[in-house]
């Protein structure tokens, strides 16, 4: 399992691995926001937490179609399915690799982009915390979507259509935490709910993803 | 014939209009597809039983 994780990380960092694509997308979306809503810093500071959460979510979505499709095309998935690893573990490791190469970098650059959007000073900690807790759920849910659409030739658009509604609860609670953090209001409830969603998806969804993958492999 | 709906005439009529159009369209499309599939199945079955 560690070998699989290391291989996926190595692949992501090698040329053409797509690492940094999500980051660049996140950066561009954030830069485009002031162009579209105007440069008033008071307005930007209100919408900053929501924009950053949405940007992170879309950047996450962008890399999902490579998550399993590459392994599918070159036959690695067939071979992994006949290997002594349980498919649930394979899927979980894939999610983890996706989070490490996409989610975690997003969390780390989010404060920088927060500065550009006049995020209030109180908001930075909670922005990072909410993203740190929320993005793993995005990766795990995304893996499920990728597993469903893995056999399809042009599955990218369908993948977005399937995954985005599933992202709603995570987005709502995550952005709520970031927003309340920025305005300095009570945020314990959404934070707990966000953590709950992440824990539950990590615990349960890999089973669904593996089941779906088995169906697609036969 | 239409009862006096007061200032909300347009609101109520448009709600009824759109809903009924949607429901009727669903029924009509379902029936059209049903008919088409039924005839297609008949022709396929005939062809296959002829050809063995």
């Amino acid at each position: 399992m560690i070998a699989l994780l290391l291989r996926d990380l190595k692949l992501a960092f090698r040329a053409g691995g797509g690492f940094g694509l999500g980051l660049a997308f996140f950066l561009i979306v954030t830069v485009l926001v002031p162009f579209s809503v105007g440069p008033q810093s008071s307005l930007l500071s209100i919408i900053a937490p929501g924009v950053l959460w949405l940007g992170a979510l879309l950047a996450c979505l962008l890399s999902l179609d490579r998550l399993l499709a590459l392994d599918w095309e070159d036959g690695s998935l067939d071979l992994l399915a006949t290997a002594p690893l349980p498919l649930e573990a394979v899927v979980a490791v894939k999610s983890l690799a996706h989070w490490l190469t996409t989610g975690l970098p997003l969390v780390l650059v989010a404060p920088l982009l927060g500065v550009m959007l006049n995020l209030p000073e109180t908001g930075f900690t909670w922005l990072v915390v909410s993203l740190l807790i929320g993005t793993p759920a995005l990766s795990v849910i995304g893996t499920f979507g990728a597993a469903i659409t893995v056999g399809l030739k042009r599955g990218g658009l369908l993948l977005s259509l399937l995954v985005l509604p599933l992202y709603v609860p995570t987005l709502i609670f995550g952005a709520e935490v970031a927003r309340r953090g920025a305005t300095g209001t009570e945020l314990e409830t959404p934070l707990l709910l966000l953590a709950g969603i992440t824990t539950a998806t990590i615990a349960l969804l890999p089973f669904a993803s593996a089941a779906v993958l088995k169906i697609n492999l036969r | 014939m239409i009862p006096d709906l007061g200032k909300y005439t347009e609101t109520v009529l448009s709600a009824y209009g759109i809903s009924i159009v949607l429901l009727v369209a669903l029924v009509v499309l379902s029936v059209m597809r049903g008919r088409r599939v039924r005839t297609e199945l008949k022709s396929v079955e005939q062809r296959m039983s002829r050809d063995g």
Partner: protein, 257 residues
């Protein structure tokens, strides 16, 4: 004899041929009953019930809004049940019934959303308000779209049935989560907005009771929508069974060519 014992089992209807025969017999009744209920209920509601003292004549929208919203949710529940039956017992008819129901659910959700928006316009002053209930239906609509799109995208019928069934299961959990999330999220935005009580009329958990004058035509419309749903699903399932058989026959022809 075993045959008689089998004929008494409900699962007997999982046989496509038996299902087709039974549906053909039942369908005229359902079409007739649903049309009758809907026509009587809607005419009664539209022409013979008084305006509400607060909402004026817009209250008449209730006869479309409430039943369609109710069936939009029930349709998803029916799909969930059918998906479970497919996953556990592998009856093809069950999977096809779920597929047949989805577009019906989409239209009902659309009716609920459109009537909600039209009703909301004079009440809230805008066509769309991010009222929790309305928002939940919008999310439900997206789930329906994804479900139908997945069915359409997959070539192999059994794989499609399996994948959509799992999606339906997982989607149900997330739909419920979204419902709570939306409730939570909106509370912070529209606290104490009194016009929201309009929307409260539309649910079963409302504190306001719909008064008796509106009750009977409303019940008639609900029954009409339920019957219409059954008729549509039965009819469309028959269509799906035939389409599936065409596909199987063509595949067989190709294999033997």
């Amino acid at each position: 004899m075993t045959i008689t014992a089998k004929a008494n089992s409900l699962w007997e209807y999982a046989n496509p041929r038996k299902f087709l025969a039974t549906s053909e017999r039942l369908l005229p009744f359902f079409w007739l009953a649903s049309t009758t209920c809907l026509v009587v209920g809607l005419v009664w509601g539209f022409f013979f019930t008084p305006d509400d003292y607060k909402q004026g004549s817009t209250v008449k929208i209730i006869y479309l809004h409430v039943p369609s919203a109710l069936m939009a949710i029930n349709c998803w529940l029916m799909m969930l049940a059918a998906s479970l039956i497919w996953l556990v017992r592998r009856h093809h008819v069950s999977a096809l019934a779920a597929r047949a129901a989805a577009p019906v659910g989409i239209v009902f959700t659309l009716v609920a959303l459109v009537t909600g928006a039209i009703w909301g316009q004079p009440m809230w002053g805008s066509w769309w308000a991010w009222d929790p209930r309305l928002t939940s239906f919008l999310i439900l609509f997206l789930f329906y779209l994804g479900y139908v799109a997945l069915w359409e995208a997959i070539e192999d019928p059994d794989t499609a049935a399996d994948l959509t069934s799992v999606l339906c299961l997982v989607g149900s959990v997330f739909a419920i989560l979204s419902r709570y999330a939306v409730n939570f999220w909106n509370q912070g935005l529209h606290q104490g907005a009194s016009v929201m009580r309009v929307a409260a009329v539309t649910g079963s958990d409302t504190e306001e009771k719909v008064s008796n004058i509106y009750f009977f035509p409303l019940m008639l419309c609900i029954v009409g929508f339920v019957l219409l749903f059954i008729a549509l699903v039965l009819y469309r399932t028959c269509t799906e069974i035939r389409a599936r058989r065409i596909k199987a026959l063509l595949a067989r022809e190709r294999a033997n060519a």
